[in-house]
């Protein structure tokens, strides 16, 4: 066991190096915790924000720590209840995540600061909805608990070369034209839409379905569903219309076959390798399309749709136990400053409050401009899995069933009604 002894000695030497923990009780340290890729748009914007903040506070030690989305999802409840919390942190939007943190008193209310700094002038319309939570942790009303820096919306990315090959001459402008385009692609032997339906990150079918529901929905119907404002009847439009059409598309083979085992990443690769005409996703893949697509491509929101899927990005929040709340507000304010917002915009990150004119790349500019339109005409319909707890899993399972055609529109909507009503009831009692 001499080897063991040597290793132990080596390791003890090593611990000497990594002895100190991050959570120094030191009043001169300002801890920021976030989980965006530091090399991407939002991460780059925040680097800039940290630089600005440091210049303002040369006497402070500012530490930006990176964790993962999943870690915050699993850990935030535990960590924020502990003694050693970050001074400002990014947290996950939605009832099951941020809502729980807010309801349990783990996050500071920001309503007063929003008024003081005027953040509600920069974060407007549907961008506000998932920043507000009531005492039960349900989004859409109540106090401000988080501040988003960016937005998200879902578009169809399409392969212009395959469209031309299938004889589609113009970008579809109506739902009928869109269906016609899918028909032509299919006739030309091209899978019209690259999709996925695995319960393990195969959300494409879910988004296609909800995009179709959104296409026939109005603001009130979306808010009733998302924010539990009034009971929802899934046997009526938009639910019936959208789901029936979704089933038609599956039956016609417009969305491909064998989706049950595919995830969104695999579906993205199918599109990027030129094997499918379209791919529906949000801005999470926008920069990748720009960098990696070897064909001419474009994007559009679902033509003829009344509403489009999208929401704010994840949120900056201030832990209730933060030791530097005032500094945290100041930092959040910097992330909403023109300088930072424009930087995020130039890199294709869909900032909530940038000047469009500062974005030089035409595709990025058009992509951001279309997003601002959806905010201005208040046509964002959020994501389908926020309203009730455990919903994502339920929906994913049924999307799988619909995709393999072992369940039809009506059957799915009946089960949806039951699950949603049960979940809604639970969500409305403390």
């Amino acid at each position: 066991m001499r080897g063991a002894a040597a290793i132990a000695a080596m390791a003890v030497g090593g611990t000497a190096l990594s002895g100190c923990s991050s959570g120094s009780e030191d009043d001169n340290t300002f801890n920021i915790l976030q989980y965006e890729d530091p090399t991407q748009a939002q991460g780059q914007g925040w680097k800039l924000a940290v630089d600005i903040f440091r210049k303002k506070h040369p006497d402070l030690t500012v530490r930006m720590q990176t964790t993962s989305f999943d870690a915050v999802r699993k850990n935030a409840k535990l960590m924020l209840a502990g003694n050693d919390v970050p001074d400002v942190m990014e947290f996950n939007k939605g009832n099951a995540d941020g809502g729980q943190l807010a309801a349990q008193g783990l996050l500071a209310k920001l309503t007063g600061q929003v008024k003081k700094y005027g953040w509600d002038k920069k974060v407007t319309g549907a961008m506000q909805s998932l920043a507000l939570y009531n005492s039960l942790g349900n989004a859409g009303s109540g106090d401000w608990y988080g501040i988003p820096n960016i937005g998200e919306y879902v578009t169809m990315y399409y392969n212009k070369e395959l469209f031309a090959k299938a004889g589609i001459t113009a970008e579809p402008k109506t739902m009928d034209e869109f269906v016609e385009a899918m028909k032509k692609l299919k006739a030309a032997g091209i899978t019209p839409v690259s999709s996925s339906a695995s319960t393990n990150n195969g959300w494409n079918q879910l988004w296609l379905w909800y995009s179709l529901v959104s296409a026939y929905a109005d603001r009130r119907q979306v808010n009733d569903f998302t924010f539990l404002q009034h009971p929802v009847n899934f046997s009526q439009s938009p639910w019936s219309t959208g789901t029936d059409q979704f089933q038609q598309w599956i039956d016609q083979g417009y969305l491909g076959k064998g989706l049950g085992g595919l995830n969104f990443e695999q579906a993205a690769v199918t599109f990027l390798s030129g094997k499918a005409g379209m791919y529906m996703w949000n801005n999470g893949q926008f920069v990748r399309m720009q960098n990696e697509a070897k064909f001419k491509w474009g994007f559009f929101t679902l033509p003829g749709a009344k509403m489009t899927m999208g929401s704010s990005g994840h949120l900056w929040g201030v832990p209730a136990k933060s030791r530097h709340k005032e500094l945290a507000y100041e930092f959040i304010d910097i992330t909403l400053s023109k300088q930072v917002q424009n930087r995020i915009g130039q890199l294709g990150g869909l900032p909530v409050a940038a000047d469009l004119d500062t974005i030089t790349d035409p595709v990025t500019k058009a992509y951001t401009a279309r997003f601002y339109e959806t905010i201005d005409d208040d046509s964002l319909s959020f994501y389908p899995d926020y309203p009730v707890i455990g919903f994502l899993d339920f929906l994913a399972t049924h999307m799988q069933k619909m995709s393999s055609r072992s369940e039809g529109s009506k059957e799915f909507r009946d089960k949806l009604q039951k699950f949603y009503d049960t979940g809604r009831k639970e969500a409305l009692v403390p």
């Binding site: 699993k74 049950g260 899993d393 069933k401 393999s404």
Partner: protein
Amino acid sequence: MSTVIEGPAIAPDNPPAEAIKAKGSRAVSYWLYLAPMLVGTLIVVLVPFGYNVYLSFFHWKGGLAPMRFSGLDNYKNLMVDEQFWSGFVNSLFMIVGIVIIPTILGLILASSLFDYISKQFNDTVASVLRALLYLPQIVPIAVAGIIWSWVLATQNGVLNSVLEGFGISSLPDWLGNPNIAIYAVVLMVMWLQLGYPVVIFMSALERVDPALYEAAALDGAGWWRRFFSITIPQIRPEIFVVVLTATISALKVFAPVLILTMGGPEGSTVVPSFYAYRNFFELSKVGYGSTISTVMSVLIIVIAWAMLWFQRRNLTEEA
């Protein structure tokens, strides 16, 4: 009946000839060797687990949420919870994929490497082969998930490409078909697990007196006969350890499921522990998750204790 794990050579009332110290102190000083582990277990396992049992009598969303006492509600709900109990069918699949096949295959492979390859070629060849078989054990589960999604992909996946090469036309949708997805998970856990018994058994065979093999070979016993009459009896302690620990793993397993299928397609690969995990995190039902963990732990303890008892009896009969 005394509760000792009996060495083959000696009965409990006939301690080794070391009557240097009185019996009392003998027992005491052995307890000293066990003390650090007991204290550690108390702090790291028993107290936390006790707290987990305590939590199972509450409704609690975790964090700073209020804890509401609910008596046996969680247990009552669990008894009739379809989603939980149906997962046990998949536990049987996991036992096949984690215990039965890898142990049997591991025995044969370890014995082939030790009692055939080593002798027919040399130790290095056997070591290289062992290393190859062990490699999946060093792959972090998240990485295994990435790799296996490539292997099992329906269109152009490695496995289906191979099947196509063999002229099979209707290719299985491994991760998308609810009837076969569990087999895909079994394939992956077998791959992950195989190296563990191989390494343990090979090191066990090192303990065996080579004279036994030589004598058997001289008597004209072939490989299979040596396998059954020497290898298996001689390394029984390790076989017990592998079977018991693998059984515990099989009942607890959920990371491979989480990483490969998330319990899908259509809930066909959900296992009981996965359900506990979902309640802890996704559903914010910490009390209910604790109940599931408690019930699972009790089940596992009963099974493990029965196996340990059997192991002791088996090794005692030997004496």
